[in-house]
Symmetry: C2
Subunit: 335 residues, 2 copies
């Protein structure tokens, strides 16, 4: 693994999405900053650290773009996009505690700086804040969608705990983890756009299907990048999943296709005590040998195609085109 001297090429579809919803996104960012203020200074400090750490803001932009696709002309998409980002941020804070991560997007994680206790509690605060904002936005239907998504996220994360160090995890079980921990919030973020615009159920479901498949593609590519990205591109620690004994699709595929000696290797390195730093290289070699990275990417590409297909319910136009390109971006991204 070498540190790259240059940055990745600019991500055109992401820039196009930014251009499309940039004005709204500026209002979302202002609202996020406003609503994370608190007289208990540790809250804005810690929340600011993770909010400012340069995430792509993909989820809230999806809410804004979905609302735009549905011709929504009100103001509630701003509040709801902020809710989506707050839920995501709360999840990240708790994830980093659960994973004992020390780097996220190239900077120290909040738990590394302020400790697990503060990360758990500020995560709870942001999660509550999100529900307060939803109440302000005044739609019980949207509240239901995001409460369901939140429960599904937690469920997916717990499900993932049960797969740790178990390379014999079924692919179907792992895909349920992915749907929970990642795709559910993408799906909810997109569905909301149709719901606040009072569009027919079919459109809400199409946007939900778009988000769900986009989220699956996004996560599977994340899984691949953890073994194949250049450290400087990824902005988080390459090999994190491996170091945590996390069982992802590339691992499951390589394990399933491995011979006895290889399977013994996987069982050993996925246990905390059995792993050595140099095992990472062999893990990548085995993955390449069994095409498990390329097959995971193929599956991601197939989910991205499903996402694009779901958009076909909507008339062709610039918003739909940008959303379709985002599906491709999720597969082709290097970070």
């Amino acid at each position: 693994m070498t540190l790259a001297a240059t940055s990745p090429p600019p991500a055109q579809p992401l820039a196009a999405l930014h251009a499309l919803v940039g004005a709204d996104m500026a209002r979302v960012n202002a609202l996020i900053l406003e609503r994370m203020q608190n007289e208990v200074v540790l809250i804005p400090q810690l929340a600011g650290h993770i909010v400012a750490s340069g995430g792509k803001r993909l989820r809230p932009m999806l809410t804004l773009a979905s609302a735009r696709l549905c011709g929504y002309g009100g103001r509630r998409h701003i509040e709801l996009a902020a809710c989506v980002e707050f839920i995501h941020t709360a999840t990240l804070l708790h994830d980093d505690v659960v994973d004992e991560s020390i780097l996220r997007r190239g900077t120290e994680t909040a738990n590394a700086v302020w400790g697990n206790q503060a990360s758990v509690l500020v995560g709870d605060f942001l999660f509550s804040r999100s529900f307060q904002l939803m109440v302000d936005a005044g739609s019980l239907e949207v509240l239901g969608i995001l409460a369901n998504a939140s429960a599904t996220i937690a469920e997916g994360e717990v499900r993932q705990l049960a797969t740790v160090s178990r390379p014999e995890t079924e692919i179907a079980d792992y895909l349920k983890v992915v749907e929970g921990k990642t795709a559910a919030l993408f799906a909810a973020a997109c569905r909301i756009g149709a719901v606040i615009a009072d569009r027919p159920r079919a459109e809400a479901e199409a946007l939900e299907a778009y988000g769900l498949n986009l989220g699956i593609a996004f996560q599977l590519v994340d899984d691949v990048l953890d073994y194949s990205a250049r450290q400087a591109d990824l902005g988080k620690t390459v090999g994190d999943d491996f170091a945590e004994g996390k069982v992802t699709l590339p691992v499951i595929l390589a394990y399933g296709r491995g011979n006895e000696e290889e399977q013994a290797f996987w069982r050993r390195v996925l246990c905390e005590d059995g792993r050595q730093v140099e095992d990472f290289g062999k893990a990548v070699t085995l993955m390449r040998l069994h095409d498990s990275l390329s097959e995971t990417l193929d599956r991601a590409r197939s989910s991205a195609e499903d996402a694009k297909r779901a958009l076909e319910l909507f008339p062709d136009g610039p918003v739909r085109a940008v959303l379709a390109d985002i599906a491709d971006f999720c597969v082709e991204r290097v970070y």
Copy 2:
């Protein structure tokens, strides 16, 4: 500290509250059991562990009794009482992680059995579940009350982090911690009863004031019990607060009244590395010397009186009488 051979005397007011709302409470318990089910078995396992560990269920019973006091005749109080208990349970799970507790109500904590990761995530799940139930109950006003309470709880917990090992914490700052981490949920649990019964704002505010003051009394007595209870009565580890360097009102008072040598003692023992097991005895001695336990109890008694006074808006009757007795029980309890 000696282990008591006998149980504490039966708590009459608690039994009376049980008798008053027992039928409804059975439905609440059934709903809690039903809604914590999940195909991810770790969720009901872990949630069941804490739900079954014999808490007093004071908060959901307060919602039921408040609804009764307001003449509510519908069914939503059942769902909302379950919500209140889910929020409380989620908070306990996260608290035990933050405090690194190993015993709660006499049994091992969930984090001691299943680890911090599962406790954080199942806490998140129960919290989300609670919001799903609120959406089912269909009141945006109630959602607002409980979202606000949840944010205030998290805020209080973060505020408390900043007081750890700092015996020079102002009394007013500590009382804000108490209002946040404990009293806010009591207040919300009670207020809900008036809101679902569509009672005038004054009644909702009276019930909120009752709950808030009850919660303050409850927490201050908890603080005292941590230094004075008999282990067998308390059902959690006596001396937990001390062992965690937690700054509570008895500590603040004893520190403020201590001479230089005593203040140096407090600063030493509230730091993780400075504390020895035998320091606990001296801490209790200093508290008794400076009347800091009795003064904390006096403050609790005064809050309980405020709670009872708030009830005077309602006509005299058996429900009001039970709620008033509960305020006394919170001060006189030995566990």
